[in-house]
């Protein structure tokens, strides 16, 4: 009887652990964008990426459609190249789309805002390995203040 009780308590222990693991998996961790999802890759060249980081979000109107995979520097023109993996279910973006680096909130992290262009005839949609031509760099606060001082001196 004593050993049965021990086994029962060990069973309770295991159930508790599974409950804790499930809570961590479902409530605490985000695994919606884990590797198993189907994605395709887009590239974009920026003049300045500011504080953008690998794994930053790519958002269309606030909805996350992908993540930044890699950030590297072009070999010849020394501009940053950002590699993004976009979920395959969003594969209808036209070629005229533009991307800009935005900040969520005043102190928040930076993300890529994806602005879908107009879908017209003769314009193909973006696919695996395409470059997005129309990019807007990150806003650097120091540059902004510099411009402001410059223009206020003028006037």
């Amino acid at each position: 009887m004593k050993s049965k009780k021990a086994e029962l308590l060990v069973g309770v222990f295991v159930v508790l652990t599974i409950a804790a693991g499930l809570m961590l998996a479902l409530n605490v961790a985000n695994n919606s964008m884990s590797g198993s999802d189907d994605t395709y890759t887009l590239y974009a060249k920026f003049d300045n990426i500011g504080g953008l980081k690998v794994r930053s979000a790519v958002k269309v109107g606030g909805v996350t459609v992908g993540r930044v995979d890699n950030i590297s520097l072009g070999n010849t023109d020394f501009t940053p190249i950002v590699t993004m993996s976009i979920l395959s279910e969003f594969d209808q973006f036209p070629e005229t789309s533009s991307v800009s680096i935005l900040t969520s909130g005043l102190l928040g992290e930076q993300y890529i805002g994806f602005q879908p262009g107009f879908a017209m005839e003769g314009i193909e949609s973006l696919g695996q390995g395409d470059y997005i031509e129309d990019t807007k760099s990150a806003l650097v606060l120091e540059d902004l203040i510099g411009q402001f001082l410059f223009s206020s001196n003028d006037g």
């Binding site: 050993s3 021990a6 086994e7 308590l9 060990v10 309770v12 222990f13 295991v14 508790l16 652990t17 409950a19 804790a20 693991g21 809570m23 961590l24 998996a25 409530n27 605490v28 961790a29 985000n30 695994n31 884990s34 690998v54 102190l107």
Partner: protein, 259 residues
């Protein structure tokens, strides 16, 4: 000249001790496993080592989560960033405090008991009697305890983290008035299953292995007198706590140090 001799002697002693510890580990784990006999014994030991540590783990997890939430809130609120309370509590619990504090408590609660039990078995010549009856004490006594420790400590660490996050919710949301939705949703957006949760589990498995290895070896290797057992018990707690803290730095540097 004499200090050279002392240095050599103590180095040789250390090496010999490592050798004995490794031999014990191999004798208990590797040589001819007998799962049919091992599993019931291990379950019994999980009850002793794991289930009976549950109370202290749950209570300390709850209070550590509550304290972190309280401390974090007073700092974050001055930046208007109290929405980040959830990720702060969750990340520090999952990455560091869960595995480390559980390991320290486990070393104090279960490790010392393992050492004292095995040491007393040795002092009262129970281990020798087992050998007389052609029962290998490594496999009958040491192996189930090793496995029980390695299995139950990661489970305890998971429970610790989960209870701590709930404790943080209790203080942060129910008492201090952080928004419940932002507590959970920003936590979900920040915590990554593979990077944070799985790495925490890997850490606690490593700590569990080190602690139970040290605890069983110190008991098995103790001088069979009352003084020797008390020394072995102390050494278990001291050595395994130091080993956990040192290993934690190395593991953290490997897991989170280089992006």
């Amino acid at each position: 000249m004499s200090w050279l001799i002392n240095l050599g002697a103590s180095t040789l002693n250390r090496l010999e001790m490592f050798g004995r510890a490794t031999l014990m580990l191999f004798g208990a784990v590797v040589a001819k496993p007998q799962p049919l006999k091992l599993i019931p014994l291990t379950i019994k030991q999980i009850h002793v080592v794991g289930v009976q540590s549950l109370l202290i783990i749950v209570v300390s997890g709850l209070f550590i989560g509550m304290v972190m939430s309280l401390q974090g809130y007073t700092i974050l609120v001055s930046y208007g960033a109290e929405g980040s309370l959830g990720p702060m509590v969750a990340l520090s619990l999952l990455r560091e405090l869960g595995p480390v504090v559980t390991a320290l408590l486990f070393a104090g609660r279960a490790g010392s008991a393992l050492t004292a039990e095995i040491g007393l078995m040795k002092a009262t010549e129970q281990l020798s009697s087992l050998e007389m009856m052609a029962v290998d004490p490594l496999r009958r006594v040491i192996a189930p305890r090793l496995w029980a420790g390695i299995i139950s400590m990661p489970m305890l660490a998971l429970i610790f983290s989960a209870v701590g996050i709930l404790g943080g919710h209790l203080v942060g949301v129910d008492w201090l008035g952080v928004d419940s939705g932002s507590y959970w949703s920003i936590m979900q957006a920040t915590v990554d299953w593979n990077k944070d949760v799985v790495n925490g589990i890997i850490k606690s498995v490593v700590f569990a292995f080190v602690i139970t290895w040290i605890a069983t070896f110190k008991g098995y290797d103790s001088i069979p007198t009352s003084e020797g057992i008390s020394k072995a018990t102390t050494e278990t707690v001291v050595f395994s706590s130091l080993a956990v803290l040192g290993l934690d730095f190395i593991l953290t540097a490997l897991m989170f140090g280089i992006e």
